[in-house]
């Protein structure tokens, strides 16, 4: 028996966990235990999968014993197993974080008890999308994770979340519709939807038909991945969701879209017929996204714009269709999942400590909670690409690949990548200066919760310079928030874990780059993938 045969369990375990968690909806403690152990089990399983394909390459599971072009196939290769492991690790950290938050706020009842089952369904959807060996199963994976994300996005049903949720749902449904149309067209043209089979048959179509199908798929995935002209929904909807939900969305959802783009570009339509288009789009994504980030005053919105901007780096890597470029893009995806999620988790902590995520109303957090400062600083510098962090290594790989390619457009993108990286530094440093370093008294309109916390730390009501109004505000803040300033240990612990994972990516960058490079070589070669699914040429027993 092959270890890769365990792959379907990566989808089944979270689903079973979701069912059990749903039945335990009246028992929050048991529900939390079940959901955390389900994700932990999935993570362990995927680690085993990763270890088994590390050297051997792609391996396929034929569900129900149906032969390749007819049945449902799940494929494990370096790319999918690597993304599975990272996404589950991130999901686990966020789940622990959310559990800590729920325990601290005493949200035992009400709509929040639906969080755990929905979250597990989201994890199952992400796993299914990464493992899917045919287009329709990929579509189903997308739908599972999107439907779960609709519920998580509008958790609690407040006015702001409903407003953002409507936009999010409509945009997502339209993108899924485009994907479904693309599937119908591809099926009409080739008579198959198995990716490995399509890899051969799409190449036999007329060039015009190929370009049309290619563009349809790219538009559908581009909306999901938030690539520039199709990215406007993201900064609008992400910041309104609860902190853990935004964290997991930022880490995973767009990356599933990027994964689908990688598969389209390498497996389905190799040869890079649309590489120029992808490069231009990547440049615009990087620049427009980061210019949006610089203008924001709310940390969550700023991070959402940097998320859009950094998708541009991944598209750039994919568009180069070289081993170095693709390998760097895969490394960048992993780095970005970890770092972006930890930044959103830290923002959740900032919101708890300072009462708001608007940098106009924050200040003095470095004095208030030095640990929080460290937790923000490390992933922020990592995101901006300061050496020696993994963000720097990923960007270095991309820039190297761009220079190796050597076309004028590639050089423009290299320059654009450097500019976007510097502007990212500007955006995160602005948050650092305003929220962490300045005195809260200098803020335009300091948050009462923040003033109360500062007062509690200084051992006297109010802060210097805030005067009597500060004291009043402090008292009000204390009344609203109860005992101020204690960050739940589970939330801090899980954030620390994820920040440490981000640093570990730097330490283990060598083996990871080697693995990503090997994966990229196999993807560009395609033969290993096709043989794993279709069997050696004969296509059967």
């Amino acid at each position: 028996m092959n270890i890769a045969d365990l792959a379907p369990l990566a989808v089944a375990v979270p689903f079973l966990g979701a069912a059990v968690a749903f039945m335990l909806i009246r028992h929050p403690r048991a529900q939390q235990t079940v959901s955390i152990s389900a994700v932990a089990l999935t993570l362990a399983l995927e680690a085993v999968l990763l270890a088994s394909v590390w050297t051997t390459g792609a391996s396929a599971v034929h569900l129900g014993g149906w032969l390749p072009p007819f049945g449902i196939v799940m494929v494990v290769d370096q790319l999918s197993s690597l993304l599975l492991v990272v996404s589950s690790a991130v999901s686990l950290a966020v789940l622990v974080y959310a559990t800590g938050q729920g325990a601290a706020d005493g949200e035992d009842k009400g709509p929040v008890s639906v969080f755990h089952p929905t979250y597990l369904i989201l994890v199952a959807g992400v796993s299914n999308a990464f493992l899917a060996g045919d287009l329709f199963n990929l579509y189903v994976g997308f739908e599972i994770l999107l439907t779960a994300s609709y519920v998580l996005m509008t958790l609690g049903g407040t006015g702001e979340r409903i407003r953002a949720g409507v936009t999010y749902v409509v945009v997502s449904v339209v993108s899924s519709m485009l994907f479904l149309i693309a599937i119908a067209m591809i099926y009409a043209a080739t008579g198959t939807i198995t990716l490995a089979d399509l890899a051969v048959k799409l190449g036999q179509l007329e060039p015009g038909t190929q370009i049309m199908l290619h563009l349809l798929l790219l538009v559908a995935f581009g909306i999901k991945a938030a690539v520039f002209p199709l990215s406007f929904w993201l900064p609008d909807s992400y910041p309104t969701a609860p902190a853990p939900v935004t964290a997991v969305f930022a880490g995973l959802l767009t990356k599933v879209g990027v994964y689908a783009i990688i598969r389209t570009e390498t497996l389905l339509f190799p040869g890079g017929s649309l590489d120029t288009l992808l490069m231009v789009v990547a440049l615009l994504t990087m620049l427009v996204g980061i210019l949006g980030a610089v203008a924001q005053t709310d940390i969550k919105r700023m991070l959402s714009f940097t998320l859009v901007s950094h998708i541009g780096y991944m598209v750039f890597g994919v568009a180069m269709s070289s081993v170095v470029g693709l390998g760097a893009a895969v490394f960048y995806v992993i780095h970005h999942i970890t770092v972006q999620t930890s930044l959103f988790m830290v923002t959740g902590l900032i919101e708890r400590r300072g009462g708001t995520s608007s940098i106009d109303r924050l200040g003095g957090l470095a004095k208030l909670s030095p640990l929080l400062g460290v937790l923000y600083f490390i992933p922020a510098m990592n995101l901006a690409g300061i050496p020696p962090f993994s963000g720097f290594l990923g960007k270095l790989g991309l820039l190297q690949a761009g220079v190796t390619l050597g076309t004028p457009l590639a050089y423009v993108l290299v320059a654009g990548g450097v500019v976007a990286s510097l502007l990212t530094l500007l955006a995160v440093a602005r948050v650092w200066n305003k929220a962490f370093w300045r005195s809260p008294a200098d803020a335009v309109n300091p948050d009462p919760v923040l003033l109360a916390a500062m007062g509690a730390v200084a051992g006297r009501p109010g802060t210097k310079g805030a005067g009597t109004s500060g004291t009043k505000a402090a008292a009000r803040g204390a009344a609203v928030q109860g005992p101020v300033g204690v960050l739940p240990r589970m939330m801090v612990g899980s954030t620390m874990g994820l920040v440490a994972l981000g640093v570990a990516l730097t330490v283990f960058a060598g083996p990871l780059f080697a693995l990503a490079g090997q994966g990229a070589r196999d993807m560009l070669d395609r033969q290993a993938y096709i043989t794993a699914v279709m069997g050696p040429q004969e296509g059967g027993q």
Binding site: R163, V166, V173, V174, M177, L180, R430
Partner: protein
């Protein structure tokens, strides 16, 4: 392969009407537009299945070549289930939005409006910084400046 022209025209009309409704600002119309688009896509999937009128279900008397392609029908079933779930969720959202805002409209993003309204000048970051002269006090220059100022006044 012969295609059913009526079905294709119906599909085109559904797409056109669906997109028109999708571009409205009223949420109920947007939902109706999405439903029409989903149905148009289902018809498109059906059209990929080939000839109409072939046997859909296995029977011993029918030779292997005379069956309808079952795969598009499986796609359509899945897609119907998914659009059913999404439609009911959207209805819930729209009802909630009506309860909260009393309007069947897409609402503006307040934070976005705020960012758009702010100028490029940020008082804290861009204002001229007053020279701090407490440490390097040069009385002669200071006197000179104030003197000038008084003079112009």
């Amino acid at each position: 392969m012969s295609a059913n022209l009526t079905l294709l025209i119906v599909m085109g009309v559904l797409y056109a009407v669906g997109i028109y409704l999708l571009l409205e600002r009223s949420l109920t119309r947007v939902l109706l537009g999405l439903m029409l688009l989903a149905n148009a896509t289902n018809i498109l999937l059906l059209a990929t299945g080939g000839y109409a009128g072939l046997a859909p279900i296995f029977s011993k008397d029918i030779p292997a070549g005379e069956y309808n392609d079952p795969l598009p029908q499986a796609f359509i079933l899945t897609s119907i289930v998914i659009s059913f779930a999404v439609t009911s969720f959207m209805l819930g959202l729209i009802y909630r939005s009506w309860l909260l805002a009393r309007r069947d409209d897409i609402q503006d993003d307040a934070e976005d409006r705020k960012v758009a309204a702010q100028g490029s000048f940020d008082a804290e970051e861009d204002a001229d910084i007053d020279l701090d002269t407490t440490e390097f006090d040069e009385p002669a220059k200071n006197d000179n400046k104030t003197g000038k100022g008084r003079g112009t006044r």
